[in-house]
Symmetry: C2
Subunit: 316 residues, 2 copies
Amino acid sequence: MMNYCFGIDIGGTTVKIGLISADGEIITRWEIPTRKGSDPAGLLQDVKNALETCMAEKQIMREDILGIGMTAPGPVTADGVLQNAVNIGWGAVKLAEEAERILGISPVSIGNDARVAALGEAAFGAGKGANSMLMVTLGTGVGGGVVLNGKILMGESGVAGEIGHMTIDPYETETCGCGKKGCLEQYASATGMVRAAERFLQEKDTESVLRNLKQVTAKDLWDTAKAGDRLANEITDFVCDRLGSAIANAIYLVDTEMIVIGGGVSGAGQFLLDKIKKAYQGKVFAHSRNKKFALAELGNDAGIMGAAVLVLSKVE
Amino acid sequence: MMNYCFGIDIGGTTVKIGLISADGEIITRWEIPTRKGSDPAGLLQDVKNALETCMAEKQIMREDILGIGMTAPGPVTADGVLQNAVNIGWGAVKLAEEAERILGISPVSIGNDARVAALGEAAFGAGKGANSMLMVTLGTGVGGGVVLNGKILMGESGVAGEIGHMTIDPYETETCGCGKKGCLEQYASATGMVRAAERFLQEKDTESVLRNLKQVTAKDLWDTAKAGDRLANEITDFVCDRLGSAIANAIYLVDTEMIVIGGGVSGAGQFLLDKIKKAYQGKVFAHSRNKKFALAELGNDAGIMGAAVLVLSKVE
């Protein structure tokens, strides 16, 4: 008899599903479209069909499945309630309970998507072997997660690790998607970087390749900075100063062994990592300066791998 | 046979010592002057004499002592090394090892003073019964500690909980004692509050009782605000806005069940607590707004009580 688990990563567009062995190897992975609705019943029905097809194909019995780990696209409280999932349309829902009922497999363990991805990186990716890790995900938004001794810090109200909504600038006049002003996300998300670029382009006279572009993207900004463009470097320095400050603030709270940078924007690679690290080092006590910084390694698999860890860490 | 431990709280002026029973009751407490020097040997010799006198008086044998908990006035790494203690004059020292050798009692467990005080409050004070707690100490400086499931979060480089050096204002021009600019401590320590008061008094024309004082102290500021003085309320609102923002940032990272405010300035009581809570609520997601805020309860005993927990939590 072999033991398996399913890792399920619910995103706004697709649901990623992985069949994962007890030693953390992905046997097979696939995606289905995310069915939106006012509750998760329809989406879970689609997942159920997908799991059954997979189990039939691989000749896996129900009793070979140790459990299901699932990411939830919103804050999850310590007692397993998803507070809301604005991208998909759900309100507060007992997602783990609901999934156990519809899928007919238990246990189902859930966790916030950014936190679960951090757990995946900690167990199988860039953080492998580290005692503790802070993950910062730079994408459409800025997400994060704190892993201490191999466990995600979940928090009481489901916000632990939400570094993106740390207030970084008390004088900001524009409003963040969350309703507050001066959140890290307003500077360090892909959208925030574009906003910073537009502001610098308007306020400064410096020549720049960026001025030839109709619409600057975060990728353009980093590519141009890497190519040596002065203004693009000023803009990315500004963005990394905000990021370095937020990471330093986070380290003053949780003081992890390492910091892992993930998300789409982390495609800018070592160049980005070096800038963030340099900014961070200017913001902390001397003996906290030599933290290890690394780029995330699991890419799109971080969610399903982390979801698997939710199950496997309970089995061991 | 009864079991006891010693809780030792090393401060810049005095060393507080408590003989504490296994169920957390203080049997006796006393203080000795802090002997300064380039290493802790002299101070530890004084402590040894004090402990021996106490044990002789109370007819307590060496084997009745479960261990010694000790606060250290500086950052302590996960492997028990005190990084520095600027107030006393020590450099980096293996304080627990050194204490075991000189005192002839083991084990000796050490922890940063602010973190250990937080642990004391969590186990026996304002945080009793809570799963997790963030403590913020408003005194000459701003200290802090994070307690998760009854344990202090120590961190890898000894800074976990150092909320006082979170960067709150990226535009600050004056320098904090730590060498950075814009730390919470620059606004929310007793000194920081006086600085804020002086700035407001200079920049504004508003009449205020504070103008009649030769030198404004943090206590004057809070007393005057409580009495209804408009400018004093503007100043304390500003201070609490910075504090509320820092606490919100901390909650976004560690998301504890409650927040405990201690230190000398917390003598301003419920009036201060209400202002901090109100400011905090304006800075976080809706479902994190109803955190419990409380004033610290143990006062000067928090250090020795927390130090005792360092020992007792390992015995149980």
